[in-house]
Amino acid sequence: MAQVSIRNVVKAYEGGVQAVKGIDLEIADHEFVVLVGPSGCGKSTTLRMVAGLEEITSGEIAIGGTVVNDIPPRDRDIAMVFQNYALYPHMSVFENMAFGLTLRKFPKDEIKRRVDNAARILDITPLLERKPKALSGGQRQRVAMGRAIVRDPKVFLFDEPLSNLDAKLRVQMRTEIKKVHQTVKTTTVYVTHDQVEAMTLADRVVVMNHGIIEQVGPPQELYHRPATRFVAGFIGSPAMNFIPARVENGSGALRLNLPNGIVLPVPADRTARYGAAAGKEMIFGIRPEHLTEPKNLDRDNIATFELTPEVIEPMGMETLVHLWLQGAEVCSRIDPTTPAEPGRPMQVAADLNHMHLIDPQSGRVL
């Protein structure tokens, strides 16, 4: 097991297109790090550079303290799980899992011991003699993980391993992956475009966009203290609401002027932080769960105003209400027992203790 260091790594393709634009990342031993971002953000390219499947244009990648830029994949002591599993169709499950050990000339009884052990962890012992064709998607996924586990490598790399599974199986396998990591504790780099996967699996999440790292941090930190508008919008489902707002300074207190003549007082403890934004057009960000039916009104910094629902989406344990606020659609998360009807104005309460203020020019969250 080992730490992984990515130092100022750039990946440029022919024609000058840069997929990764100089990123830095330190992954600690035993850590589970998830690279997340939209398609084309450079997350898979980064993972493939760590694996040695893509050449590094400039910068340095080190695994366990050794710079691996010029070391071929087979000598990096890593294991990778691919999106489509990449199982050898002509080999049985046992042979698939044993292949890496066979090539490294491990003794037969040691290979058998390791394969049996991995098969037990992943609950695939009865499948060992089958060919991949005779397996379901979830079983293939387990075999691919088993192939990685038997090698006992320094680092596990996962490239969107759950994307080909249906929603139910994805949730199940997510838990399996987390369990496996808790058992073997191997340093893991995991790539996904699904922010739920990222949040549930990661010790730390790396949010990438357009070839750069937007923010690195534990899931809760990214959720509650996003550094950029991109992170604020990408993490969380439904996404954070972004409403254009003008920051006004009035007798020592700041207030936000929203469309529809809505005026919200900025919490006093944030006055210093947002002071520089006074007089400027900014973006007011608030998550749907902080925009609810009026409740906890006795607490500080709860502001109520009236909006008209356009669409109501009952989800069972909660109801999503889509409201229209002149130029911006706003999503509110309310209790399912709260009456709401499209077209009938309703009172909503914004918990401003959880508000965000974003500079539209730089995209930074203040």
Binding site: A51, R74, F82, Y88, K133
Partner: protein, 315 residues
């Protein structure tokens, strides 16, 4: 809609009662009947051009020279007892097996070289390497004949220029056998190349990436990933080529006409010589049918393997 019980599909008049159908009409409407009618032209072509000539040749091969009397397997036993024909069997096997192995190896190497080329230049090279296969073999063999010519041989001109004595390419039995195999390989290798190239392109890149991470070297990837993934194409291509090469006629006919001293005759040219030129059609038919049982058994085994692998791997 006329009443509550009848639902009419758009465009179908409600008032029309379903026609009473007879047995013939029912048969005509069956999907299997339609399928049979659709495949009938192909069945007629196969029957006329494959089945009928085959069975007629089989019948002919059991007649005497004048084709007046049924003599059973006498033509076959007679052929087997003749030294010339024993030589033809050996030469045919040498020609077909030698040429197919060489074509398969060269095709495999060329396919890998082409596959490794950048996509931009690949098409150009692919086109050029296919040229031997698209030129009519009778014409290209004539060009080879000129290259092997004892007086004007371009090949001899080249080798004498580097101090090697000239070779009687078509005049000496061993060299003549080598020459006919060489021309067949030159003509047939592109077919293997294009088949193998298609097979190579169908191997998912991620299998090679997985193998690289598992610790495979280039050679190990070839042995453990490429070859197993190409097994079916290799088997089918070898089978197809073996059948076609055993049945070859034009190359030997043009280059050596079976000579010197019948040492390059193969089934096709010998059958022509015996059956057409010497006027013994039954014996010629027997010659031409000689390899059928062996090739048929070989084909059954190869195709069984192909089916088994497809079942195991596809999907």
């Amino acid at each position: 809609m006329a009443d509550g019980n009848v639902v009419t599909a758009p465009g179908v008049p409600a008032a029309v009662a379903p026609p009473r159908t007879g047995t013939l009409q029912k048969i005509a409407r069956r999907k299997s009947t339609l399928a049979f009618v659709m495949t009938l032209p192909l069945l007629v072509v196969i029957g006329g051009l494959v089945a009928y000539p085959f069975f007629y040749a089989l019948y002919l091969s059991m007649l005497n020279k004048r084709m007046t009397r049924f003599i059973g397997l006498e033509n076959y036993t007679f052929l087997l007892s003749r030294e010339t024909f024993q030589g033809v069997i050996w030469q045919s096997v040498l020609f077909a097996v030698g040429a197919v192995i060489a074509k398969a190896l060269i095709g495999f190497i060329l396919a890998h070289v082409l596959h490794a080329l950048p996509a931009k230049g690949q098409r150009k090279w692919r086109g050029m390497l296919l040229v031997p296969w698209v030129i009519p073999p009778a014409i290209s063999t004539l060009a080879w004949w000129w290259l092997f010519d004892p007086s004007y041989s371009a090949l001899n001109w080249v080798i004498t220029a580097i101090g090697v004595p000239p070779v009687a390419w078509l005049g000496e039995p061993s060299w003549a056998r080598f020459s006919v195999i060489l021309v067949n390989v030159w003509y047939g290798a592109p077919f293997f190349m294009i088949m193998y190239l298609a097979a190579l392109k169908s191997v998912p890149d991620q299998l090679y990436e997985a193998a690289a991470i598992d610790g495979a070297t280039g050679w190990q990837k070839l042995i453990h990933v490429t070859v197993p993934m190409m097994k079916n194409i290799i088997a089918i291509t070898v089978l197809f080529s073996l059948i076609v090469t055993f049945a070859n006629f034009d190359i030997v006919r043009i280059l050596t006409n079976g000579g010197p001293q019948d040492k390059t005759h193969i089934f096709g040219t010998y059958a022509f010589q015996v059956g057409i030129q010497s006027g013994d059609l039954p014996l010629g038919s027997a010659v031409s049918l000689f390899m059928f049982p062996i090739l048929a058994i070989f084909a059954v085994f190869v195709l069984r393997g192909v089916t088994r692998r497809s079942r195991e791997m596809a999907g």
